[in-house]
Symmetry: C2
Subunit: 477 residues, 2 copies
C-alpha cells in the first residue's frame, strides 16, 4: 500500500495539452506547486510534454522505472493502458476514469479485462471511478482538478494533520478538504477508492492503523465490498474509526448503487457489524470532519457522568436534554463539591448544570475547572461559555491545558453564531464545537471509543461496564 502514498516516479496516463484535460491538472500540481519530490511523466497520443513533465506516447517508452501509474483516459482505452503498465512492470495503478461497473455491461466487460491483467501480473489497482490519493505528509496528490489555492489550503500544512480518510466519492472529498481549512484538526491522508475493483476500504483501514502519523480514521462508504474482511480488519484497529454510510433506506441504497456500482448491503446487518467490530457509525458528513478533534485535542472520555457549566442559563436545560438522550448522564454533584463551587463566590447555581452567571472572573473560571476536573463524581465536562468578553477565550485556552493535566475531556460549545465560534477556533486553536448537538455527540463518540477499546482488549460484559458508568474503562489506555 505504501507505494500509493509515497511513490517516487509517477506516470500520468491521459495527461495532455488539450483544453479541459484533467490529467494535466495532476501533472501541474505535482510538478509545479506541490512540495512532493519525485518525477512525473505524461503519457498521451502525441507524446507531448505537459506542464514541464516529459511526454511519452506509450508507458513502455519511459526510460526510468515507474512505481505508480495514474490513468485518467476515456474508459475504453483503460484496459490497453493497464496492459502497457504490466509490460513496463508497474505494480500499482490508480484508475480515475469512470464508466466501468457503474456503466452497464460494456463497462463490466472492460473491468473484467483489467482484473485479469492485474491478477496475472500481481498489480494492485485503486479505483476505477475515483480521485486516488492525497498525502499531506509528503505533498503527493493525484486528485484531478486541484488548484494552487487548494494545495495551499490542504498541503501547506504545519504537520498537525492527523485524521486520515477513506472516501468512496470524490464530491465528499471536496467538502471534507474545504471544511478542514476552518478547523483545528487537519487531514493526514485521504483516499478516494471509487468502485473498489481491487483495493477496498478494509485494505486502506489496515494501512492507516499501521500508519504512525494517523490518529483518527474517518470513512464515507456507499457500500461494503467484503463484509467479513472489513469486520476482521476493523476488530484489530485500536484507533478511533468513524463511518458514515449511505443506504439506511432502500431509496438511499438504490441511489448509492447507481453511483459507485456497489451491492446494496443490509443496513441493520451493517449496523450490528459495526458495533461488534468497534466501529463508530456517525450520522452526517459533517460529523466526519467535526468530531475527530475530540480525539486529537482532548483526552478520552472514560465514563458517562458529565458536568455542564454555562453563563447562559438556557443551555443548562438544552444540554441536559441532549446528554440524557444520547445515553450520557448529568453528573450528580455532592454537597461537598457544590459547597466548593459556591465558595468561588460568583456563581448562580452550584448544582449540575452549574450556572455561572454573567460576570465571572478568570480566577473563578480556573477554580471551577479545578473543582470539577478533580472531582471523582465527574468523568468529563460540557462547558458552554458565551464569548462575550476577551477573557473568556483565555479561560478556554487554560481549560484545554487542564483537561490534559487531569486526563478528562471537555467538549466546549460557545453559544454564539457559528461564524464567530469558527473565527475564535482558528485564531486560538482550541477545539470548539459549533452547536450543543455536536458537542454532545463528541462526548458520546469519545465514550463509545473507550467502550470499544475495552471490548477489544477483552472485556466481554459490556452491560457491566455501562452499569458502572464506564468506571471500568479507567485503566484501558
Amino acid at each position: 500500500m505504501d507505494t500509493f502514498f509515497n511513490p517516487r516516479r509517477v506516470a500520468v496516463i491521459g495527461a495532455s495539452n488539450s483544453p479541459f484535460n484533467l490529467g494535466s491538472t495532476i501533472c501541474r500540481a505535482l510538478n509545479e506547486y506541490s512540495p512532493w519530490e519525485g518525477d512525473v511523466f505524461a503519457v498521451n497520443r502525441k507524446g507531448e510534454d505537459v506542464c514541464g513533465c516529459r511526454g511519452y506516447q506509450a508507458v513502455t517508452d519511459i526510460e526510468a522505472d515507474v512505481d505508480l501509474a495514474v490513468i485518467i483516459t476515456p474508459a475504453k482505452v483503460v484496459p490497453e493502458f493497464v496492459e502497457q503498465c504490466a509490460a513496463k512492470g508497474i505494480k500499482r495503478i490508480i484508475i480515475e476514469s469512470s464508466g466501468f461497473s457503474e456503466g452497464g455491461e460494456e463497462g463490466r466487460a472492460m473491468q473484467r479485462r483489467i482484473d485479469e491483467t492485474a491478477k496475472a501480473h500481481g498489480i494492485r489497482i485503486m479505483g476505477p471511478n475515483c480521485l486516488g490519493v492525497l498525502n499531506t505528509r509528503n505533498g503527493f496528490c493525484c486528485f484531478y482538478g486541484m488548484q494552487p489555492d487548494n494545495h495551499h489550503d490542504f498541503l501547506g500544512d504545519d504537520g498537525t494533520g492527523s485524521v486520515s480518510f477513506i472516501i468512496q466519492s470524490g464530491g465528499i472529498v471536496v467538502i471534507v478538504l474545504e471544511s478542514f481549512t476552518m478547523d483545528v484538526v487537519k487531514a493526514n491522508k485521504i483516499v478516494s477508492i471509487g468502485n473498489k475493483s481491487d483495493i477496498d476500504e478494509a485494505d486502506v483501514l489496515e494501512y492507516f492503523e499501521g500508519d504512525d502519523s494517523t490518529r483518527v480514521i474517518a470513512m464515507y462508504l456507499e457500500n461494503i465490498k467484503q463484509g467479513k474482511k472489513f469486520i476482521d480488519v476493523a476488530r484489530k484497529v485500536k484507533k478511533p474509526v468513524l463511518v458514515f454510510k449511505v443506504g439506511r433506506t432502500s431509496e438511499g441504497a438504490r441511489a448509492a448503487m447507481s453511483h459507485t456500482a456497489g451491492m446494496a448491503n443490509n443496513d441493520a446487518v451493517f449496523d450490528t457489524a459495526c458495533r461488534q467490530a468497534g466501529v463508530i457509525r456517525v450520522n452526517s458528513i459533517s460529523e466526519l470532519h467535526s468530531l475527530p478533534k475530540m480525539f486529537t485535542h482532548m483526552p478520552p472520555l472514560k465514563g458517562r457522568r458529565i458536568a455542564v457549566f454555562t453563563n447562559s442559563g438556557a443551555f443548562g436545560g438544552i444540554t441536559a436534554d441532549l446528554l440524557v438522550q444520547s445515553g450520557l448522564e448529568m453528573a450528580r454533584l455532592s454537597k461537598d463539591t457544590q459547597e466548593k463551587l459556591a465558595r468561588t463566590g460568583q456563581i448562580f447555581n452550584a448544582s449540575n448544570p452549574v450556572d455561572l452567571g454573567p460576570a465571572i472572573s478568570m480566577q473563578t473560571f480556573l477554580e471551577i475547572f479545578d473543582i470539577l476536573l478533580s472531582s471523582d463524581e465527574v468523568d468529563g465536562l460540557l462547558p458552554v461559555p458565551s464569548l462575550w468578553h476577551p477573557m473568556v477565550i483565555d479561560a478556554i485556552v487554560e481549560l484545554v491545558k487542564k483537561c490534559h493535566q487531569y486526563g478528562k475531556p471537555a467538549a466546549i460549545y460557545t453559544p454564539n453564531a457559528v461564524h464567530k465560534t469558527v473565527s475564535y477556533r482558528n485564531k486560538y486553536q482550541v477545539p470548539l464545537f459549533e452547536s450543543p448537538e455536536e458537542a454532545v455527540r463528541a462526548l458520546r463518540v469519545s465514550y463509545q471509543h473507550s467502550l470499544n477499546l475495552a471490548m477489544k482488549q477483552g472485556f466481554r460484559d459490556l452491560s457491566l461496564l455501562s452499569a458502572e458508568g464506564g468506571k471500568n474503562c479507567g485503566g484501558i489506555r
Copy 2:
C-alpha cells in the same frame, strides 16, 4: 401589546452613570444610535442625566406622559418602582431585573407585591428576568448591553426582516441575532419574556399573528405557562409557528426550571398539543433561525414527492435516505419525464436522484428546472449543486425565480464547506441551506405547515391527505 413595540415616551428606571450600569446601555442605544424616534427619561437615585437622557429621582417627577417603563434595578427595589409607575399612570412595564420567582421565597413575595399593584391599576407587565423588546421596524430596542455594532447589524435593516421571535431566555436572543447577520432572512420583532409573571407566550403569539410585517413566528420556550390558553391561541394562528422547547427529559426540565422559574410540563402532552394546534416543534436552536427562510423565500410545499438533482453523485444517496427518514418521498419520474431529462443531453442518470454529471451548462440547468417544476409527478425540489463554477450560482438565482413562477419550492443545499455556502448566500441573497439535513428539514417543515393549514381550515381526515401524497393541499392557500 402594541405599546411595548411602539412606545413614544420611555422611562428607564435604574439607568445611571455608575460604571457597568446596564440601564445606561439602554439609554445610550435609544438616544444615540437607534433610529427610533421618541423620548427617553432616566430614573436614578441622584436624578442625573444619562447619555443625554434627562434624569429624575422618581418616576412621578417626569413632567411628560410616559407610556412604557423599563425597570433594571436590583430586585428588592422593583416593587416600589412599580408602585411609582402606577402613581404616574404608566400602564406598560418591562422588568428586566432578575431575582424573583427563580430566586426563592423572598423573590416570590416581591413578585406577589408587584402582581397586586399591577392588577389594581390595570398595568401589563413583561418579565421579570428578561431582555424585553426589539422592534426592527422602528428601531426600538430595550435590550441591555447592546453595542453600536449590534444595532448596525440588527436594526440597520433594509425592511426585509419578517421573522418574529418569542424567546424566553436572553442568551438565546444573542445567538439568534448574531446568526441572522449571515442569512437572507432577518428578524422583525424579538421579545424576551423571561419569567412571564403576566404577559406570556400566548399573548405575544396572538399579537404577532395580527402583525402585518411578521410572516413567520419562532419560539424558544422553557415552559408553557397556561397550556389551554396557548393551544387556543395557536389553533387560530395561520402563520408558520416554529417552537423549540427544552425539557424533553426530566433532567432538562429540572435545569430549565431553575433558570426561568416555570413549572415543568409533561413533554409528551406538549408534543401532542403542538400537533393538535398546528404548531411545528423543531429540534434545535439553529433550526429556529435556519428554517424560516423556507417560508419567506420559497412557495409552500404542498405534497411529499421530492425530486433530487445533484452534480455530486454521493448526495443522491444521502438525500434519499434523509427524505425517506423524514416522511417525505422520492418522486417517481415517469418514462416521459426521464426522456425529457435525457434529451437535455448532458446528464448521467435521469431517474430520481437525477445525476447531472460534472460538466453541465446554464442552458441545461434551466431546462432541467422547467422539466421538474412543471411535472405533476413532483411537489418540490432538493437541488444539490456544488459551487464549483460561477455559473452555478447564476443558475441558482434563476431557480429561485422559477420556483415562485411554478409555485413549488426548492430547498437548495450546495455541497461545499459551510463558510463558502454562507458567503454565497449573503452575496446573492438566495436561500441556501448549510447541510443536507437542514434542507430536508426545511422541506418537511414547509409540508407540515401545509398540512397544518389544511387541518385548521377544516380538513378532518389527515390520513387521507397523507395517503394522497398531499395533493389535496393543492388549493389551501
